[in-house]
């Protein structure tokens, strides 16, 4: 009994950690790109979006996992989407109540959390098969990884495009900001650069183990 508890605890931590780094939703699985690119033009927006997504992910994971034996298989996707849409509506109104500025800056992208493939993906791949506790941990891990990735994107774009981080000025007035980083194309370039970094790290780590050269990924 005690041993199985210990085991489930260690795997529980693992569920949490894997979302942060090894299976990072944006950098490794390339899921949920639309919001990741659209609202990452400043670190503050990116963080808010990340936290909102994390909340929806945790709550929907919990509810779906609790209901997993009651949901008929044929209508499961529709059920998941309805559960997710409910929590997104909640988040939408909460953000509106906390800060109207933030709500304006994020615009329709709060509502678009519904169609974030990351959330539906976790519901289908994880929450529908695992217990409530593990699903919540998974939600926190994946949500944390998503927030982390968004923060990476948002920070780079804000520092280069505006010379600021969370609104604080970093450089001397003479700093010439890269306007392109704030524009939509900057989002594509920044994400491409981060993916390159991740690919390079992964390749360097894999190289000593693999003896086969030139295998296409």
């Amino acid at each position: 009994m005690e041993r199985s508890l210990l085991e489930s605890q260690t795997t529980g931590t693992d569920e949490f950690i894997k979302g942060l780094w090894r299976e990072n939703p944006v950098f490794v699985q390339v899921l949920g790109m639309c919001p990741a690119l659209a609202v990452s033009n400043s670190a503050r927006n990116a963080l808010a979006m990340g936290l909102a997504t994390m909340f929806v992910l945790v709550m929907s994971n919990a509810v779906i996992s609790a209901l997993r034996r009651m949901i008929p298989k044929q209508v499961r996707i529709a059920t998941y989407i309805l559960v997710i849409a409910t929590f997104v509506t909640v988040v939408d109104y909460v953000i509106q109540a906390i800060s109207l500025d933030l709500h304006k800056a994020l615009g329709a992208f709060i509502a678009l959390i519904v169609v974030n493939c990351l959330i539906l993906g976790r519901a289908e791949a994880f929450a529908s098969k695992n217990s409530v506790g593990r699903s919540i941990l998974d939600g926190f891990g994946m949500g944390g990884g998503f927030s982390f990735a968004l923060l990476c994107l948002g920070a780079v774009r804000e520092i280069l495009g505006n010379g600021t981080l969370f609104g604080f000025q970093l450089f001397h007035d003479a700093f010439q900001s890269w306007v392109v980083m704030i524009l939509p194309s900057g989002g594509f370039f920044t994400l491409a650069a981060w993916l390159l970094v991740f690919n390079a790290v992964k390749q360097r780590r894999d190289r000593p183990q693999s003896t086969v050269e030139g295998v296409a990924p």
């Binding site: 390339v30 639309c34 996707i77 509506t89 491409a192």
Partner: protein, 193 residues
């Protein structure tokens, strides 16, 4: 109510504020289906059609929700309608043209989670378009999506033959391409007035 002229709505949705390259909507199919030119064209057609149908439905729902004073139901009803529209289109295509159904495969049901379609429904509501404006907006967004997808597929077919370092291959390369396309589309700014 918005008073934009129809041509300006169309140009705006199609070129200036292209859904993929300026609003980042529908990135997943944009990166996933843009490998081959033929598939990209068909996918663009299917998405445009679903956009048109769901735009008309969303307009009706918005009027209904305004009438019964329940704006908090907007998101849930929109997504439910889009999901059922996609299901309907899927059944329709399966019945009428099994060949096309097989070519599109998994991408048909995935249109449900295409943010461009829900985005279109939300934007047209926020902008307060009337019925005709909604239809034109949907047509513009659909053709803009198809245009971006086809351009991207053309570029990627050429790049298949290029010698690229292993690290860059895959998503990173597609993203750089998309960034350059997006810079090119910025040239349309100011076109619609």
């Amino acid at each position: 109510m918005s008073s934009d002229p129809l041509w300006s709505i169309f140009v705006n949705a199609c070129l200036i504020n292209n859904f993929v390259l300026a609003y980042f909507l529908g990135i997943c199919p944009f990166l996933g289906v843009s490998g081959k030119l033929a598939t990209a064209t068909r996918m663009g057609g299917a998405v445009s059609f679903v956009m048109l149908v769901s735009s008309v439905c969303a307009f009706g729902i918005q009027q209904l929700l305004l009438a019964i004073d329940a704006p908090y139901l907007r998101l849930i009803s929109f997504i439910a309608v889009i999901a059922s529209t996609v299901q309907l289109v899927e059944m329709f295509i399966k019945k009428v043209s099994p060949a096309l159904f097989r070519t599109l495969g998994i991408f048909l049901p995935l249109i449900t989670t295409n943010c461009a379609i829900l985005g279109l429904a939300l934007f047209q509501t926020n902008k307060g378009y009337d019925f005709v404006q909604c239809v034109v907006y949907a047509l513009g967004a659909g053709s803009g999506f198809t245009l971006a997808l086809v351009l991207m597929a053309g570029l990627r077919e050429k790049l298949e033959l290029a010698a690229v370092p292993d690290v860059v291959r895959g998503t990173a390369l597609s993203l750089v391409l998309a960034g350059i396309l997006s810079v090119a589309f910025m040239g349309f700014a100011g076109l619609g007035g």
